[in-house]
Structures are given as C-alpha cells and as structure tokens.
Amino acid sequence: MTESSSEIPQKHTIGLITAISYTVGDIVGSGIFISPTSILNHAGSVGLSLCLWALCACISLFGALSYVELGTSIRKSGCDFAYLSHFGWRPLASSFMWVSTCLSYPAVLAIQAISFGEYIVTGLDSWITIDENWRFMTYRLVGFSMLWPLMLLNFFSLKKVAGAFQIVATAIKLIVASIIIITGLYHIIFKQQTQNFKNSFTGSDWNPGNLVLGVYSGLFAYNGWDVLNFGAEEIENPRRTLPIAAISGIAISATVFILMNVSYFSVLSVEDFKNSPAVAVTFAERTLGDFHYAIPFLISLLLIGSMNTTIFACSRYMYSGAQQSVMPTPLRGIHHRTRSPRLAVFAEILIAICLSFIGNLDQLISYMSFALWSQRTCTQVGFIYFKLRGTLKTQDSFQVPIFVPVVFLGICIALLVIPITQNYHVAIYGVSMTIGGAIIYLIFIFPNTLPIFLHKINNSIVKFAQIIFNCVIEPYEDSTVEEFEEFEEINDYSKKFHRF
C-alpha cells in the first residue's frame, strides 16, 4: 500500500496541444466525406449548403461552451452520464449510458473503420477492381486491420502514446485537407472557375423539415466538440484548456469544412456532387492529375485520427458508467501505471466489430442522433436549473452567460421535434432503445440485492480480466458527497423527479 509520491501515476495527462488535437481530430473526420452530399441533398443549392455548414458551427459553439462550464464545474469523466448522475437523475443517466455504449458510439466507430477500408479499396481500384460480392467483407477486414492496433495503442499511456499519436494524426488531417483546399482555391483564383457559384441559391429547398435534416447531417460532421468532457479528469488545468480547446477546435474545423466545400464546388456541379459516393476522390480525379491516385490513401490517414478519438471518448464514457456500477464491474479496470481503461477499450472495439455486420449503419446513426440529442436536452435542462440555483458555481469553473445554455436548449428541442414530423420512426426507435436502457437499469442496477451467485460470477470475471489485462479496480469517489448542501438539494429534487 505504501508508495512514494514520485511513483504515483500522473492523472492529468492531456495538455493544451493534445486537447486541441483531440477536438479537431474528433470533429474533422468521416463527416466531411459523408455529410456534404447529404447536406446538399437537403439544401438543394450551393449557397444554402454553405450556410448550413456555418449554422452548424454556431450551434456547435453554443453547445461546446455549455459543456465547457459543465466540464469545469463537475470535474468527472463521462460527459453527459457524469452530469446527469451529478444532478441526481441516475435512472435517466443509466438509460442513456446503455443506449450509447451498445449502439451509438460503436456505430460511429464502425462507420469510421468501414470508411477507412472503403477509401483504401477505392484507392486500389486504379490497379485492382474487387468483385462486388467481396467488397462488403474487404471494407471490414481492412478497417479492422487498422482498428485492432489502435486498440493496442490505447492500452498505454495517454500522454506518451495515444495523445502523441493524436497530435500527429491531427497534423496529417490538416495537411491532407490543405491539399484539397489549396487545389480548390487555385481553381477559383487562377483558373477563374466560379460558374458553380453564380446563382448560388438557385434550387434551394426552404422546407424547414428538410433544412433541419440537413442540419442533422452537419451536426453529425461537427459532432465531437464535447470529446474532452469524456476524459475531463485527465485534463491539465481544465479552466484554461477546455475553453481554448473547444473554441479553437470548432473554429479550425469550421474553417476546414467550409473551405473544403468551396473547393469541391469550384470543380463539381450540384449534379456531380449528388452522384459521387466519395466526393473527395471525384474532386481529386479532376484536379490533381496523376497525384489523384494518392488521395484516397491520404483520406484514409485522416480517418485513423478519428478512430483514435472515438476510442478515447467511448472508453472513458463506459469506464465512467462502470465506476458507478451502471456498467459491468470488469470495465472498471485500469492499468495501474498508465491509467488506461483497457477493459472498456477492448469491450468497445468488440461491440463496434459486431455492429458493423448489421445492415444499415447510416440509418442507425439517424436513430442514435435522436437519442444523443435527447440526452443533451436532458443535460441542458439540468444545467440551466442548477445554474440558476447557483449550486454549480465553484471557484475554478468557467462561467458562460445564461442565454448560452438557454439558446442551446431551444436548439436541442427543435432538433428533436422537427425530424419527428418528417419521419416518426426515428423517434419511435430512439425512444424504444432508451426504454430498453431503462429496463436494464430496473433489472440489474436498481434492486437492493442481487443473488449471491451473480456476485460470485462477477468476482470471478473481474479477477480473470484483471490478470489478462493487468488492471486494478479503484474505489470510486462520489462527487456529490463532497458538497453536502448541493447533495441535499439534489436529493430533494430527485424525490420529486421519481414521482413522475
């Protein structure tokens, strides 16, 4: 038990550069290759789609600032789960936890892996054309070939290995994006190719439902501004790092996104855009000559960074749930020296691999977007309530004006309500899965005592996992205990909540 302080592992391993790298790394990724076509389909015109991209950046900024205050006030890893639990809304937090860890985040990871495989195979098409029958399997095998070693990478120190890797990956992202942006600007400025920008708003679809669906796609691309909240306990000087990383991350990403779209439109017409399954590749074919053969592989490099950030976020999320006994106990294991939640990383990869063989992942993302924004709506409600009561304020928290979470709450509600009028299945599936999470809570988590044999099974599995992954189980320190006044008030509110 006795251990000198010099041997105690560092807890705060994410510096400012690493933090910005994770934020940009999570935002710039699959979205820029999936969302442009989707957004253009909903917007109908060049001008309106660019406006939607800018609008999504503003929405993300409001959300990011809200979560920065939450992250500096409630310094727990696990993002929404930590905050909802802190508010005392444990059943709700548990419900979302199960939906997110079993469906949402692994689905994102699976899409990123498959996209990686798809771009590699697309790149090879110049020399070798894979039979259509085998493409499904090839995409996945190539994607998992990259995902598997990334898992190993995240088994080690965040500061020395995963974080350093993320800085390099993000730098590569920006370099690759710059190639496309510079090429596009060259065509606009020197070759005067601006025909696609004349009558920019011709063909616009002003249907509010369609616009919101376009915003949905854009927010999927921008999603990731809260990645640092998942690992809040590991951030150095959160009050300074979180706001700078969030604002810088969104600003850099928005610039990249809008410039990339401008570049695409300088060469591709609206019809070309809609017909292209991989818009960056089509763009490269027309502009970069022989070098265009390299573009798909370069884009694959971008996706490596995205996979790394998703692994980071989801594993910390899962670990946070396990700490509070919402997820299985083995997931609480962390490597003593590196503080990596290895079991959570491993579990997440396995779920992602299984999910990737299910049918339509893009459709699943739509359903999960509903659940994700439901969770954020609940978090914002709690945030506004407790902020107004003053119980969230601490000496070292970053304060934002009250209208920021209020505006963001309005946006969350709009994003939940309007799509239902377009496709009520989204809401039905989203709510169904959340209810499924609630059922799991009632059966396994809520009961006072579970049968003895379940405890024995649990302990055996924990011990086996500890030996194989070299992890220890640390006792959990509940943040509510440290603030008695706050705890009492939350307790009162929770009683009212449970009466619903």
């Binding site: 090879l124 399997m137 190539v142 006994s325 070299n470």
Partner: protein
C-alpha cells in the same frame, strides 16, 4: 460485495439524507475489495498458469491482426476482375499506409 450493492441501491432509491450518508460513511470505512488488489494481482499474474494465459492472449492479439491483414490482402489479390502484373505494388503501398 453485498454491502457495495446495498450502498449503490440506497443512493439510487433516494432514501433520506441521513441514512444514505451513514451508508456512505460505512462504505468509505470498509470498501470491500472487488477482485485483486495491486499486490495480489502482481503476484497472481506471475504464476505459471496465468503467465501462459497472458502470453496466449498476446499471441492471439497479433494472430487476429495478422488474420485480418491476410484476409484483406487475399481478397484484394485473388478476387478481382483483372490481375495486373503490378499486383504486388499496391499491396505494399497499403501496408506502408498502415
């Protein structure tokens, strides 16, 4: 183990503040160890039986990765429309890319 479960569900049930706090105090005083402590773990994992298990797990990791790579390369090389004379080159490129 049972105590730990009681503590969690007590908080979940949102009983009165005092009783919840009392249970939490007890939890802090005597936290039941789940699984092994660090020292026990270090001793246990060095036993011959578990050492073999650990090395097997490591071998399985690299084996699975090798299988994924081999599988994807085999499909790319064998299941295509035209087998060009430069088949080897793009495979090498892919490997370098990763």
């Amino acid at each position: 183990m049972r105590t730990d479960s009681v503590t969690d569900s007590c908080c979940s049930s949102e009983y009165s503040y005092c009783s919840c706090d009392c249970v939490k105090q007890r939890k802090v005083a005597e936290v039941p160890q789940i699984g092994y402590s660090l020292d026990e773990l270090n001793a246990k994992r060095e036993e011959p039986k578990w050492r073999v298990a650990r090395y097997t797990a490591i071998a399985m990791f690299w084996g699975i990765w090798g299988a994924l790579l081999a599988g994807s390369i085999l499909i790319i090389v064998l299941n295509n429309h035209d087998v060009a004379s430069t088949t080897a080159a793009p495979t090498t490129t892919t490997t370098n890319g990763q």
